[in-house]
Symmetry: C2
Subunit: 254 residues, 2 copies
DNA sequence: TAGTGGTCTAGACCACACA
DNA sequence: GTGTGGTCTAGACCACTAA
């Protein structure tokens, strides 16, 4: 193991790949290998990884190289490292979602996980916007979930979720849980790794206003979210209309 | 240098500090020391730092420890590292602002740095909201700048900037540049390191609508930004009203 | 060719959690 | 006490940049 520019022996590392892609450091290969294990469900959410030393021995690299790969995955919120305890696969529990994916917080008080009430679900052919967002072919179907969500008593969010039916067969058969991403992970092995949101200010239609218990024309925050899997594939599109009289969208620029 | 739990010899590192604050690793002390140099302007924006080896020798620590400190500062966008060239202090050029602080992008095309037209400036006693945001005492004054900004031809942002006059004396005497943060850095030695934004959807007042060339009641995105310095002190409060018919606020959740 | 940051290794020791 | 991640070191070599 004195050779520097090399590839570790793994099925996902075709020889010569480094030549095509340019220089690819060892810790990155190790990292990609670990991502593969996450994608394939070899390492399931909540479980503990082998120790750094074990992983290093297994792959034939130094502990420092394993460490760098694990550190990056932890920085991406895919793993959680706890000194003295071990390294764990991140779960989509409410705490993580609140921290990572839910940016609408009450003007006073702290962030809370909102309750959900499903209004309707339907299966339909994807419209052009859905096809574009979810990278679907013409004719493919989506499952649409329409629900409102409340912080405290008041409904503050009205959202329409579009899911590629091919990826989530039979999802509408059972009840729709409040925490969808957790369901994606446990039932379909799909991990939502990150998301892209586009925000606009819009006026509520009469129907939307009625659902949210307010007046038509009220300004609302429209959040167009595209959730991406570990592999970077689009998994969910979510249009959320949010009332912002007593809450705001928090964004930290670092 | 075999002792582990220790403090490097620096004026900013009072002996016993580690006891009060709990364990504080060496690389963190080194990092804080570097931040001090940035705050004090010893390392000015755009300049090159000494090499890792030089810094390590100077501080009496290993190169790896210096490296870890520099890596974290680079991750926070305070430094820029370039292989083969060196490590540089980040500047507030338009590219960085666009990337780090300006999240309103056209629905088509890519992000652009918007032009600005100053409508008015005034010096006044801080109102309660300004005092709260900027941590000012009763009676302290702020400089308010009101301007609109355009992407292409159309005015899309109407914003009111509040600055603590004590920190930026004489700012209103000269012309107000488009890129304020660059001015803060070069003329006042104040680096805006990050910012917190709170977004709401609101309806435009008749006056606001007139300024933006649209109808009263039009929904707009209200961005309430608080910019923080390297030390974490509030430096600027900015209220921006944004038209989002042809643009959106982009937020990436990782 | 010289100098810089980037990677990799091996080994020691520290802080922390848990049984 | 044992095992985990976290820190620190020293040294070698690689990749990149510019003179």
């Amino acid at each position: 193991m004195t050779e520097y520019k090399r590839e570790i022996a793994l099925p996902s590392e075709p020889a010569g790949g480094a030549e095509i892609l340019g220089f690819r450091p060892l810790y990155r290969q190790v990292k990609d290998h670990f991502v593969r294990r996450l994608v394939d469900g070899v390492w399931a959410p909540g479980t503990a990884l082998p120790s750094e030393g074990q992983l290093a021995a297994e792959l034939g690299v130094s502990q420092g190289t394993v460490r760098k790969a694990l550190d990056e995955l932890a920085a991406e919120n895919l793993l959680v490292r706890r000194q003295g305890r071990g390294t764990f696969v991140a779960e989509h529990d409410e705490q993580r979602i609140l921290f990572q994916f839910f940016k609408l917080v009450p003007d006073d008080g702290a962030a809370r996980f909102p309750d959900s009430t499903v209004l309707a679900t339907e299966s339909a052919e994807a419209d052009p916007a859905e096809r574009q967002a979810l990278a679907l072919e013409v004719g493919e179907t989506v499952l649409r979930i329409r629900r409102f969500r409340s912080l405290g008593d008041k409904p503050v969010i009205l959202e329409t979720i579009s899911l590629p039916e091919r990826r989530f067969p039979g999802l509408a058969n059972g009840p729709i849980p409040n925490n969808l991403y957790s369901l994606f992970a446990t039932r379909y092995g799909v991990t939502v790794a990150h998301a892209r949101e586009k925000l606009k200010a819009v006026a509520l239609s009469p129907e939307e206003a009625r659902r949210l218990g307010t007046a038509a024309g009220t300004p609302a925050l429209l959040i167009d979210r595209l959730a991406l899997s570990l592999e970077g594939a689009p998994v969910e599109r979510r249009l959320s209309l949010c009332l912002t009289e007593e809450a705001h969208y928090q964004s930290d620029l670092r």
